[in-house]
Symmetry: C2
Subunit: 229 residues, 2 copies
């Protein structure tokens, strides 16, 4: 007869089937170690915020491309799990609510799509701020596009780093000298990935894939989607 033990490592639920003979503390610790060391081979996890007024193309490019790459994507609705309206009234149903995101384990990347309304909502959300600060403090990735880098600034994320944003947000991002502002389509500085707008959304999402899973995977996805990358 087998005894099933379930434990959580780095946000992943790991199931281990142990025989009675090996169900000692030592073997449990061994299994824990094995699961931990193989963590890099486990599916990467992304949390994508869905806030009222999000830019449709920026949101969906991220979900589409990250899921094609095999990344485990959770869409967190702000404020809750009800359908969220985009800047142009497309209603999308989130996977989880923002508060559920706190109990969903850790994510390899938190991704903030743009859109004026969505970015304002993320900038004003204390919960988004907490998740971002925890993400940064633990050396994990944050990605924001278009107007969303202003939400990073509102929560004091990525201070001193190279960033970009939608051109109309450049002045707000430059103000106070918080960042080293660039005008490239996508800017990567350590764990921070930023980009400019709908026209750079696929390149942005592919860069997130590249940073998490390598260039080969990003190029494979781009090729299947007929995107030059």
């Amino acid at each position: 007869m087998l005894i099933k033990s379930i434990f959580t490592i780095k946000g992943h639920i790991c199931k281990s089937l142990l025989s009675p003979q090996t169900s000692s503390r030592a073997s449990l610790a061994l299994n824990l170690l094995r699961a931990y060391s193989s963590d890099s081979k486990m599916s990467k996890r992304a949390l994508i915020f869905l806030a009222p007024g999000y830019e449709e193309l920026e949101f969906i490019s991220a979900v589409d491309i990250l899921r094609r790459a095999g990344i485990d994507v959770s869409i967190a609705g702000i404020p809750d799990k009800n359908p969220v309206l985009s800047a142009r009234n497309v209603a999308i149903v989130p996977d989880i609510s923002l508060s559920e995101a706190f109990n969903a384990g850790t994510f390899d990347v938190l991704l903030l799509p743009g859109g004026l309304g969505g970015s304002k909502a993320m900038a004003e959300s204390e919960e988004v701020g907490k998740l971002l600060k925890d993400q940064e403090a633990n050396g994990r990735k944050v990605a924001a596009i278009c107007a969303a880098p202003t939400a990073l600034k509102a929560h004091c994320i990525g201070t001193g780093k190279k960033v970009t944003s939608y051109p109309a947000m450049a002045a707000a991002m430059k103000e106070g000298g918080t960042y080293d502002y660039k005008e490239d389509d996508v800017v990567v500085d350590g764990n921070l990935i930023t980009s400019r707008g709908p026209g750079t959304a696929t390149k942005f999402a592919l860069t997130v894939v590249k940073e998490l899973l390598g260039e080969e995977k990003a190029c494979e996805i781009a090729k299947a989607m007929l995107i030059k990358f």
Copy 2:
């Protein structure tokens, strides 16, 4: 006191405020004529199908770009108004059901996003076939991208015209010599607009805008979205 009369012309609900003095049959006919002649200045209308398994980026690029251009877009859910799951499990809530589309007046363009599941569902839908045949018979536009041109073929739409599709669908599209197959990103032949895949989705949607509202409007939208067009 004013008498409100409501009448429908070419699918648009027109409200006319008439005084009792002018509420004769003659003046009604005159107002009808005025509304009809000014129809070209009225908002263009698009119906975009949302079928289970749709390709996310192709669907949302069309909605985003057409609505930015001021086109009145209705999202028709297949089979009904419940949230429809994409190829990668994004749940989007349609504006209307497919059967409601029959009573929603005429549309300047019917647009079919790709995705294997979505294209199969559209190919198998008698209602989609009826809408497409009516659209073609009345000289109005049809647009399809990626795998969706196979749904056009299933309903015998655009026979003899130049078309393109996702490369993997080229053989199926060429079979039987129904079409003059091309490999351009976007192919326009009369009222038929076809395109290749997610990587050509914004160019496809901008071409639909160009065909309906002119190049200037398409370029204005592209510029605001940081898209080269």
